[in-house]
């Protein structure tokens, strides 16, 4: 099968959206490339490949797809599957040196976490040029012959964060559903609504509001956001006519204790989706705040359970 066939194959697949997340690794032709055409390296993840393919419309070029097990460039580079060894072996396997006369491959900048440029040059004779972070900047990069500072910088704006909400929600929802059901059975609808709201605050509210919540750490931002939910739920419990004054107070206290822990834990996990947190910093934050979250959740559950000691509403 020629590279041309493979391209047709992929185009057909892409016609049916999302039928496959993985692209077959190998060399693809875009348009009518010649021996002098640029060679772009990508991951075998549909969205990475599509972003590149879309940006290269009207540019005759080659795309060398590495086998990253369906993972995007940056994450795969962090793990090494988008890396020096895979790039070297893919250059050799596709006989790229016979296909093109140019001796340069353009690797997305974020691939540099896994690709050692001088090692690739030493082993294959191909020079690695690191292109812009975002594929959409490639035409301007080709035009100017170099990347501007902005093309080299990773951003994390409102839109970048908003697109993560469905993913974060999907990851959190099985556990949240269990917790919500547990809260409903053990306490009632207000507790269940509180747990659900604390979860939504974590996976949707936090990504949206992150830069404007006035603390430094993800966990404390989560405590503040979850605290607002906790206070609202506490207010609802106090105003409800359900149970004695003591029971209502115990409920209110338990919500203020337990609900922020839920939001905060989800917020802490969002560190894995950001573009700027360092593992050292995340570890420190985990060591500092996970015990606090656990203590808050446990004491919240204890206080809630203890409401039965206050006896039933009289008269």
């Amino acid at each position: 099968m020629t590279a041309r066939d493979r391209l047709d194959h992929v185009l057909a697949r892409l016609g049916v959206r999302r039928s496959g997340w993985r692209i077959r690794p190998g060399l693809y032709r875009l348009g009518e490339p010649g021996p002098e055409s640029p060679v772009f390296v990508s991951a075998n993840y549909t969205l990475s490949f599509d972003a590149l393919r879309g940006a290269l419309q009207g540019i005759d070029s080659y795309i060398l797809v590495l086998d990253t097990f369906g993972i995007n460039v940056w994450c795969a580079a962090g793990k090494g599957s988008f890396g020096t060894d895979e790039l070297v072996s893919r250059i050799e396997q596709t006989r790229l040196a016979d296909e093109v006369s140019t001796r340069t491959v353009i690797v997305p900048q974020l691939g540099a976490t896994g690709v050692c440029a001088r090692e690739v040059l030493r082993r294959t004779g191909f020079k690695v040029r690191f292109g812009p972070v975002r594929a959409v900047d490639i035409p301007a990069f080709l035009e100017a012959g170099e990347a501007t500072e902005d093309m080299r910088r990773v951003t994390f704006n409102l839109k970048d964060r908003a697109v993560l909400i469905p993913v974060e929600g999907k990851i959190a929802s099985p556990i949240l559903a269990g917790l919500t059901l547990g809260a409903y059975l053990a306490d009632g609808p207000v507790a269940a609504a509180g747990v659900g709201a604390a979860g939504v605050a974590g996976f949707a509210g936090f990504p949206l509001l992150m830069p404007w919540i006035p603390t430094e750490d993800f966990s404390t931002k989560g405590f503040l956001l979850g605290g607002a939910v906790g206070l609202a739920a506490a207010g609802a419990a106090l105003l409800s006519g359900d149970g004695s004054a003591g029971q209502r107070a115990a409920r209110a206290v338990s919500y203020v204790l337990a609900l922020p822990a839920i939001t905060s834990f989800i917020a802490l996990n969002f560190t894995g989706s950001t573009t700027f947190t360092s593992p050292t910093g995340v570890k420190r934050e985990m060591n500092r705040y996970i015990p606090v979250m656990a203590a808050m959740a446990a004491s919240g559950i204890l206080v809630n359970g203890a409401r039965h000691l206050f006896g039933r509403k009289r008269g």
């Binding site: 993972i71 962090g78 974020l110 976490t113 894995g272 989706s273 593992p279 910093g281 995340v282 934050e285």
Partner: protein, 90 residues
């Protein structure tokens, strides 16, 4: 104050720099500046997220950084399963 976004293990020795400029090309947070025939300069070390791209591409080994997978969930899994290295995303 040190936090998840500005605490890091980045170390740079300008004495060893060969002025190739690779660090300032690969860094996604513009931690290094290079050019004008001078050794690379650390201009924003707090923004380092320990991705390791600079150290991997620094031939003389002037840059050192402990790079690792940065997801809290991966680290929690690593801690629970008592593995040394965190892995994520398949």
């Amino acid at each position: 104050m040190a936090s998840a976004s500005n605490l890091n293990t980045l170390e740079y020795d300008p004495e060893l720099c060969t002025r190739c400029g690779m660090c300032s090309i690969v860094c996604p947070h513009r931690v290094f500046a290079s050019g004008n025939g001078a050794a690379a300069r650390l201009i924003d070390p707090d923004s380092c997220m320990e991705c390791g791209a600079c150290a991997l591409n620094c031939e003389p080994g002037a840059i050192k950084v402990d790079s690792d997978v940065g997801c809290a969930s991966a680290m929690i899994m690593a801690a629970l399963t008592r593995r040394k290295e965190a892995t994520c995303c398949g």
